[in-house]
């Protein structure tokens, strides 16, 4: 099992949800409002006067064979408009209840 952590501009919330639904990924946890900024030119998302936008993030635990599929569509979605900002990170799950 792998954990996929997707961080994205709030504007993409519905599209990410749609993607997960299409990929039949049922379980997920969403953090509706998170702060952050990208390493490679990603604008800060601070919810302040200077940087008013906000990010959201979704953490989903999937089978190993699903990871590439998820990343493929994350990449596609990112390329619709790169300025929105969308990243996904994957790590291992050691144990589960």
């Amino acid at each position: 099992m792998k954990a996929v952590f997707i961080v994205y501009n709030q504007a993409l919330t519905e599209r990410v949800a749609y993607m997960l639904e299409q990929l039949r990924i049922k379980g997920w946890t969403q953090f509706p409002l998170v702060y952050g900024q990208g390493t490679n030119g990603g604008e800060p998302r601070m919810g302040t006067h200077a940087w008013p936008e906000m990010n959201s993030s979704t953490l989903t635990i999937v089978e190993d064979d699903m990871v590439d599929l998820v990343l493929k569509y994350v990449d596609k979605l990112d390329h619709v408009n790169q300025e929105n900002g969308l990243r996904a990170f994957v790590w291992n799950i050691d144990k589960m209840y």
């Binding site: 599209r15 749609y18 993607m19 299409q22 990929l23 039949r24 089978e63 064979d65 699903m66 599929l69 569509y73 596609k76 979605l77 390329h79 619709v80």
Partner: protein, 1054 residues
């Protein structure tokens, strides 16, 4: 922290807040005055001007017209009517209800001042009078006496009236219908002639003798005396011994005149149950508590009775407070039963005592706040306010029910009561507030009603808004708090097994069956949407066709166990003949109508145009009767049926030309259709009125058709020859005043005794002035001191004088008024009258309108129609905001027409007339009916959002919402049931509302539960779910995704 979390966290503080509210409420209740209706001042101002010596036409031209021209410009004037009598002009100004009458009377005074310059010079200053309800007596006693009759006035005045005037809140107590004491000096014209005296000489010497004169003071030694000449008569005997100087010799007055200290010759006489008597009236101050004043006054009269001679008997004719108390008790009983029914309904549906208690507790709290409102705004406990509470009772539990139901759901799911109370309330509190807003949207416009409707329905609007708001506040604070304390976590297993014989088990079993049945019905309806919707529409239009069987009336008449009878006979008939017929009518009525308790009859006329003669028509040929019948519970017939029988009796007397039987209190609740005939020419209008009256007599249900213009007065007219007058050195005014002294009497002097003043009337003895020849032979002293007979100065002819002249809006008019018989509605009579008029040949100079109460009714219905439109609009706005949709409110409001269908059916089935009260019931339904729809639609939307398919969502929501909808509807209906069924005192006022609301509710609840789901399903196909899909189609980044190809095996086909 939200209000409900705080309430749950701090139960004691919450409890204390509500205990405080209840305590203040109860205190307010104790201090509230009790009255029949809200305080209202009729917006009438009357201007009266007397111009002695002018006949009605002169008065009209010289006084009335001038006054009218100025008064017409007064602000806020609604209508101006006037009546010109001989010597007297009365202009009545009607203002809009709610106008500040203090300002208005100032304006009127200014206008009268302006008109003074154009009025005749020797006119008395016009008096301006305001009529208020406090002038209406609250207690009317018939007083009879035998031996003491001659002194009755004095006895009552000393012993009773004095005492009553001391009672707190009594404005005045007065005795009417009794002859006053007077001193007559009856002269013999022959003796006057013999001693060469004139009547005015004698009159003047009485006046000159009857005097006290202060003549300064005299100092005698150390003392200072004031000097007085004492001439006033100490007793009436003194008058007899006045010495007159005739040609140097003295003569006593008793030698030439008969001096009588006695009661005035009968003019207006009252008989109580055929015995000599009079009437004692007590009026209250306008802000006094009617019930309190009446009971204090009664106690005072009881005390006074001990001091009175034993032959003086008091009998109650009218006790306004008695009706008020009975009506109030009746309403309180209604309120109690409403409470009981509501609690029973809640118990049946919830099946648990604890829950029922939590709900029931909101009722007293919500209602008690109304008392605080009334105390703060100087209101009173009256039929309107109690009726409002009765209406509110079924509505105030709704919010608490919704909250409790949801909290119970959470508890059953396993939450601790404290958390369940918080979450449960949080889920529903917005929708609870919205339903309250809808109710307020309906009732708040009532508080803006103008006119008399406003006076009646403003308190109703406020009370319901306040009660419902309080109930919402209670539902989101006290109810969750009580839930957290009272509801118990139940063991799930125990619950399902249950005790098979417990009420809870039994009721839930039946309710479950009902739910199943309804779900099957709904599924059928959803499959046959078109059939359902079309058949419902047909039903609605069919009911509209039924409206023609609906009778309308303005305001339901109350059965107050009182009748007033007016009957007119041949013009010029002697009062003795009138008495004879009145007594005959009296005995026939007693023989045929066993319900009669007291008949007070009065006949004859007062000499001078007094205030009393404005209130009721009097005359020598007229008798008025006040009839008191048994209490409602002691008789089978309504007072209206009795009135019809009285009319039948009056018809049997050929002597009675015109009659009128009224059933209202003091004739205030007029219920007549008035046909107003405008036209300048007396002859033409009178002729037309007579023709109209004859034609109207054929209209079924038209009773007591009265023409307002009296018949011409018969009179003897003296035409003086001016040439002869001049020859004798006389003038018309000189002769006139002499003749007036002979017949009417010389009344300059007063006899004083014990602080009271009595007229001394000097005139010819009756036998010398009871023939035309007596008048012709009256001796007049001419300018040369010679005596001349009246017949030598002119002719005496019989003639007719014009009747009193009525005007409205500065135009001459007369009214033909029609009273609808028992069981006939005013609207029908008005229509029939219009049809009769259309068939008649109306002269071009005349214009004809139909007015009276009918006109007020039309105005009020128009006002109510506006109100219904306003309410509909407000309700739509609130709901559109709540659902974020233009369509949903439309679907919900579809139920409203069916509520009206229900009202029409209920009114037709129960034979109740459509009155303002019933219409108000229909208005209330707008709010109650939409509530059901909101509950339903809200839940369907929720289910769809959760992803259920359309029909499934509708069917499931309907099933789940059936109980709350039925529960709230049933509580409202049963809350009204006692009102609809009540038959005792005052019930006529509110019964139509109960009938209308129950009818509308039964019908619309059933229809709402069928047509709203059907229409929802029919319109929502291209609804929210499809919209979401079309939106997702724009997400092109997953265009190439094919689940069958791309997904790993374990994800496929799941």
């Amino acid at each position: 922290m939200s209000i409900f979390s705080s309430a749950v966290e701090k139960p004691i503080s919450t409890l204390m807040v509500f205990v405080a509210i209840v305590v203040i409420g109860i205190y307010s209740y104790i201090t509230l005055p009790v009255d029949q209706y809200p305080k209202m001042d009729p917006p009438y101002i009357t201007v009266m001007a007397t111009y002695p010596g002018a006949n009605a036409t002169d008065i009209e031209q010289n006084v009335t017209k001038q006054l009218e021209n100025q008064l017409n410009s007064v602000d806020d004037l609604k209508e101006m009517t006037s009546k010109s009598y001989d010597n007297l002009s009365v202009v009545t100004l009607e203002f809009e209800w709610g106008v500040n009458l203090d300002n208005a009377s100032n304006d009127v005074r200014d206008a009268v001042d302006k008109s003074m310059s154009s009025l005749p010079d020797d006119i008395d200053r016009p008096t301006i009078m305001r009529i208020s309800t406090s002038m209406m007596p609250i207690l009317v006693y018939a007083v009879t006496a035998e031996q003491s009759y001659s002194g009755l006035y004095k006895i009552l005045d000393d012993k009773v009236v004095m005492r009553l005037n001391r009672v707190d809140g009594v404005a005045s107590a007065y005795v009417s219908g009794i002859a006053e004491r007077v001193v007559y000096v009856d002269l013999d014209p022959n003796k006057l002639d013999a001693y060469n005296l004139s009547l005015s000489q004698i009159g003047n010497s009485i006046l000159a003798e009857n005097m006290d004169i202060s003549a300064g003071s005299i100092k005698v030694g150390l003392e200072d005396y004031s000097l007085r000449i004492e001439g006033e008569f100490d007793e009436s005997e003194d008058i007899k011994n006045i010495a007159l100087n005739v040609g140097g010799k003295t003569l006593k007055l008793k030698d030439i005149a008969l001096v009588r200290d006695t009661l005035k010759d009968i003019t207006l006489e009252t008989k109580v149950n055929r015995r000599e008597g009079c009437v004692l009236l007590v009026t209250k101050q306008s802000d006094a508590n009617a019930v309190q004043v009446a009971s204090d006054s009664r106690a005072e009269i009881q005390k006074a009775l001990e001091e009175l001679p034993t032959d003086i008997k008091f009998q109650m004719i009218t006790d306004n407070s008695d009706f008020i108390i009975k009506a109030m008790n009746n309403l309180k009983e209604t309120l109690f039963y409403a409470l009981l029914f509501v609690v029973i309904v809640v118990f049946i549906f919830l099946g648990r005592w604890r829950s029922t208690f939590v709900i029931a507790l909101t009722i007293p709290i919500s209602l008690v706040v109304a008392f605080i409102y009334l105390a703060v705004t100087d209101g009173s406990l009256n039929t309107i306010t109690l009726m409002s509470l009765s209406i509110a009772i079924g509505m105030v539990v709704d919010d608490a029910i919704v909250v409790l139901e949801n909290v119970t759901k959470h508890v059953d799911r396993g939450s601790r009561p404290k958390e369940a109370a918080k979450y449960g309330t949080n889920e529903v509190w917005t929708s609870v507030i919205v339903t309250t807003l809808v109710t307020i949207a309906v009732f708040f416009p009532l508080t803006m009603l103008p006119g008399i409707m406003g006076i009646f329905f403003k308190p109703l609007g406020w009370i319901i808004c306040i009660c419902v708001s309080t109930s919402t506040l209670t539902a989101i604070s006290l109810t969750p708090m009580l839930c957290s304390q009272f509801l118990k976590l139940r063991d799930a297993e125990e619950e399902t097994k249950g005790n098979k014989f417990s009420f809870y088990f039994w009721s839930q079993k039946w309710l479950h069956k009902m739910d199943n049945f309804y779900e099957r019905v709904i599924r059928w309806v959803l499959r046959h949407k078109a059939v359902t919707i079309i058949s419902m529409m047909l039903l609605f239009f069919a009911s509209l066709l039924l409206t023609k069987y609906l009778h309308t009336e303005f305001f339901p008449q109350n059965d107050m166990s009182n009748l007033s009878v007016y009957a007119k006979m041949q013009q010029g008939q002697r009062v003795e003949k009138t008495r004879e017929i009145a007594m005959k009518v009296d005995s026939v009525m007693r023989a045929r109508i066993p319900e009669i308790r007291i008949i007070t009859a009065s006949y004859g006329s007062e000499e001078t145009a007094s205030f009393a003669s404005m209130m009721s028509t009097t005359g020598n040929n007229v008798f008025n009767m006040r009839v008191r019948v048994l209490e409602i519970k002691d008789r089978d017939r309504s007072v209206f049926a009795i009135a019809d029988e009285v009319r039948g009796i009056l018809q049997e007397f050929p002597e009675i030309l015109d009659y009128n039987v009224k059933t209202g209190q003091n004739g205030t609740t007029g219920n007549t259709v008035d046909v107003e005939v405008f036209g300048h020419d007396f002859q033409q209008t009178s002729n037309f009125a007579v023709k109209l009256k004859a034609a109207l007599a054929d209209v079924p249900g038209a009773e007591d058709i009265l023409i307002s213009r009296g018949d011409d007065n018969v009179e003897l007219q003296l035409y003086l020859d001016r040439e002869k007058l001049a020859r004798h050195g006389l003038t018309t005014s000189g002769v006139g005043s002499l003749v007036r002294n002979y017949v009417y009497g010389y009344r300059q002097s007063k006899f004083k005794e014990d602080g009271e003043e009595y007229d001394i009337i000097v005139r010819l003895e009756e036998k010398y002035r009871s023939h035309m020849s007596d008048v012709e032979n009256m001796l007049i002293t001419d300018g040369y001191g010679k005596k001349v007979r009246l017949k030598e100065l002119g002719d005496l002819r019989e003639g007719y004088s014009p009747p009193s002249i009525e005007r409205k809006s500065k135009q001459r008019m007369l009214t033909v008024s029609i009273t609808p018989a028992d069981g006939y509605a005013m609207g029908d009579i008005a229509e029939a009258a219009q049809a009769v008029i259309n068939q008649m040949d109306v002269p071009q100079e005349l214009s004809i309108y139909i007015g009276g109460s009918y006109e007020d009714q039309q105005e009020s219905f128009a006002g109510l129609a506006m109100l219904i439109v306003l309410s509909l609009l407000l309700v739509y706005l609130v709901m559109a905001a709540e659902f974020e949709s233009f369509l949903m409110p439309g679907i919900i409001m579809l139920a409203i027409p069916f509520a009206f269908t229900g009202v029409i059916l209920a009114l037709i089935i129960t034979q109740v007339n459509l009155s303002v009260v019933a219409a108000l019931g229909a208005l209330m339904l707008i709010g109650i009916v939409t509530k059901n729809g909101i509950v339903l639609i809200d839940y369907i939307n929720l289910m769809r959002e959760r992803g259920y398919r359309l029909t499934e969502a509708v069917a499931l929501s309907c099933r789940s919402r059936l109980r709350p909808v039925l529960m709230t509807s049933l509580t409202t209906m049963l809350g009204m049931l006692p009102m609809a069924l009540s038959t005792s005192e005052g019930a006529e006022t509110w019964q139509p509302m109960g009938v209308a609301v129950i009818g509308g509710m039964v019908f619309s609840t059933i229809i709402t539960m069928l047509i709203v789901p059907a229409v929802y399903a029919a319109t929502a196909k291209s609804g929210d779910r499809d919209k979401k899909k079309s939106e997702q189609k724009q997400y092109r980044f997953m265009k190439d995704f094919d689940p069958e190809r791309d997904l790993p095996e374990h994800k496929k086909n799941k």
